[in-house]
């Protein structure tokens, strides 16, 4: 009797667990496009990296019209920029591409092209509207081939704590001399640096280094020209007055340092406005476009682009959706509902009152934004510029010989 009871228990548990384990959501079978009206809606699977409020706008204001017009059901999934290459790589290797379209941070495109994970869209150049800002198209080009379509521009803005600046009798710096003065004044006044740059020696630092080098008239891909020497020399001078948080400051922690007032001045992407001001209630944190260097003001053009993964089950429909995302109508929704700058010169919208000063800062910074060169040896470029920063700025090594060394490193990488 007891034996039977045990056997029943084992069989019961096994069945229950297998049943439970098997009842996950089934992967969507790719469907073919057909007659829009008479057939079941086609499922278009797309990925984006968005916050909660951004998803809400997409699902309520952007997707429905396209779904209705094309008899499509959009299934949108969240994939962060850093995870997209891994996901696409595994799907590509398995021969089962589950995504039709993705949007991706334009700072993370090289691995996708290098690994052959995206479709060549050179044949679709004509579908980019004339009103799209020209610099946004070049972001998606590698070796004269177009792999990505423009989606939305982005640029770092400069955040500062207005209360602390007023208390110290300072104004936000507009050039390098003023920046050095602000950093020195806070350090002298409080005994600790209150100005930070992103010094995590990765892509975060690269963006800042590009801004400094270009605004001194240098070319970061050369790295030992006059402008680059000026930029690294200035950073070497500035570094002792910076906040100790500099070494840990990245796109995420910079918001935290500004919000908890361990940093009074720092540059970051505009999403920080929502995190610091809207959610954190720190209304004293203001923003402006930033400072100029000895030659000009320059900011790295960030943002996102649209890509079609190799083997996309509904590539044609995905291209139609891409065109829809670039349309004036959708770009105006982005401006009005999300406070994103438009990628088209003819798209206007009204942002919420509280967002206006920040939106203006983004607009002004975008006016001096320059795209990063797209090269497949980008990882080498990033490493060289950051290694030079570590040696010169953090360790105090001589500027010119160190930059000469890393110039040679870049030349080797270029000719690999």
């Amino acid at each position: 009797m007891k034996k039977k009871w045990y056997a029943k228990l084992v069989v019961g548990l096994l069945s229950a667990t297998l049943l439970l384990a098997g009842c996950g959501t089934e992967a969507t079978e790719p469907t073919t496009e057909g007659d829009n009206q008479s057939q079941e809606p086609t499922t278009l699977r797309i990925s984006m990296g968005l916050g909660e409020s951004e998803w809400q706008v997409m699902k309520e204001k952007v997707f429905p019209q396209f779904e209705q017009e094309h008899n499509v059901k959009i299934e949108a999934v969240q994939i962060e920029a850093a995870d997209l290459p891994k996901k696409l790589e595994s799907m590509d290797a398995a021969g089962k591409m589950e995504l039709d379209l993705f949007t991706q941070d334009n700072m993370a495109l090289a691995p996708l092209v290098e690994k052959g994970l995206v479709e060549d869209l050179s044949g679709y150049r004509d579908m980019i509207p004339d009103e799209i800002l020209p610099s946004l198209t070049s972001v998606g080009e590698f070796d004269d081939k177009l792999y990505f379509l423009p989606y939305r521009p982005n640029v770092e803005i400069t955040y500062y704590n207005e209360t602390k600046f007023n208390e110290a009798g300072l104004t936000p710096p507009t050039n390098w001399d003023e920046l050095l003065n602000v950093a020195k004044t806070f350090k002298e006044k409080e005994g600790i640096g209150r100005v930070a740059i992103k010094g995590t020696l990765d892509g975060n630092t690269t963006v800042h280094l590009y801004d400094f080098i270009r605004s001194a008239g240098g070319d970061p891909m050369v790295l030992n020209d006059e402008g680059s020497v000026k930029a690294y020399t200035f950073l070497q001078e500035l570094y002792p007055y910076l906040s100790p948080d500099t070494k840990k400051a990245d796109w995420n922690t910079m918001n935290q340092y500004l919000a908890n007032e361990s940093v009074y001045l720092g540059q970051n992407w505009p999403f920080g406005v929502n995190v610091i001001v809207k959610d954190g209630g720190k209304e004293e944190i203001k923003a402006y476009h930033g400072w100029e260097g000895p030659v000009k003001e320059s900011h790295v053009l960030g943002g996102e682009v649209i890509g079609i993964p190799k083997g996309s089950p509904n590539a044609d429909l995905a291209m139609e959706f891409a065109a829809y995302l670039m349309s004036k109508e959708v770009q105006e929704i982005f401006v009005s509902e999300l406070g994103w700058p438009a990628s088209r010169s003819d798209a206007y919208g009204t942002v919420a009152d509280w967002q206006k000063p920040y939106f203006e800062a983004v607009d002004q910074a975008l006016a001096t934004a320059e795209a990063r060169p797209n090269v497949t040896y980008w990882a080498d470029v990033e490493k060289a510029t950051n290694d030079a920063f570590r040696e010169i700025v953090m360790e105090g090594k001589p500027v010119k010989p160190t930059l000469d060394k890393y110039h040679d490193v870049l030349e080797v990488a270029k000719n690999k």
Partner: protein, 279 residues
């Protein structure tokens, strides 16, 4: 005499230092957990300041309410719970009999078998996660609980087998032999004698597997597209920079861990694992 005095002095020092050391260790272990809970229950002005207070000054449920209202909690919670529990049950059902057999093998064979089991654990997870995931995707296991359970089993089975071999080794063979002399079959001896005695070891192994599967991240990242597990959900909130909701998610992620550990902690005695160390 002198040695006795030294021993007394040592005992006194240990007695004096015992509680301060315990308190200090506990403090360092618990403070991060406390901060996590505190951030999830504090108004922003408590946290976003140069000198945040240690205690909660402005209590709020707002962040928890947002998490509950987001519609992004129950599905990941259910998925994580289902996968962790299924993995644990299957792991015990597969590993317990296997470990018993291994524990009764000749010493040299046993040693080689255990080493072989651990071969699969010698590679970094991120390195083998991609090829394993590719195979699973080929089998259509993307976004399925079954896919994650199988991936977790591949990871957990060697570990749980290692623990259970040690547990079964500590049980004298004479007990089974006595049962068999009394007419029990080998299977009856195993289920009626060996397993009940080794229940503590099995509970410990189950707890480790459940916790590991509950917190697992790498395979979940590869094998999930739309149906996220709770650790993935927490990760996405952290990546979006929302400190308060991230803290609320992380706290929710921790609650089942605390409950499971609380109920199984009485089995957590070093003696239950000592056999495993003997290997």
């Amino acid at each position: 005499m002198v040695k006795g005095q030294e021993n007394d002095r040592l005992a006194k020092i240990i007695r004096i230092l015992f509680w301060p050391t315990v308190i200090m260790v506990l403090f360092f272990l618990l403070v991060p957990v406390y901060i996590m809970v505190k951030v999830s229950l504090s108004a922003p002005e408590d946290i976003l300041t140069q000198h945040p207070p240690f205690l909660i000054h402005n209590f709020t449920w707002d962040h928890w309410i947002k998490v509950f209202e987001s519609g992004n909690l129950w599905e990941p919670f259910k998925k994580s719970f289902t996968v962790a529990t299924t993995t644990t049950i299957l792991a015990i059902m597969i590993a317990a009999p296997a470990s018993y057999v291994i524990s009764r093998m000749p010493k040299k064979v046993k040693y080689i078998t255990i080493l072989t089991l651990f071969l699969t654990r010698m590679f970094p997870e991120v390195g083998i996660a991609l090829p394993i995931s590719v195979k699973f995707l080929e089998l259509g296991l993307l976004d399925t609980n079954l896919g994650l359970v199988l991936a977790h089993l591949a990871k957990e089975l060697p570990f749980i087998a290692w623990i259970l071999v040690g547990t079964f080794e500590t049980i004298p063979r004479e007990l089974e032999q006595a049962a068999m002399v009394d007419g029990a079959s080998r299977l009856t001896a195993l289920t009626k004698v060996v397993f009940p005695i080794s229940l503590s070891g099995i509970a410990v192994a189950a707890m480790f597997v459940w916790l590991d599967s509950w917190n697992e991240f790498t395979y979940a990242l590869y094998l999930t597209l739309s149906d996220r597990t709770l650790p993935l959900q927490t990760y996405y909130y952290i990546m979006r920079g929302d400190w308060f909701q991230s803290a609320a998610y992380a706290t929710i992620l921790t609650i089942p861990v605390v409950i499971v550990t609380f109920f199984l902690q009485r089995y957590l005695k070093s003696g239950y694992l000592s056999g495993a160390i003997k290997g």
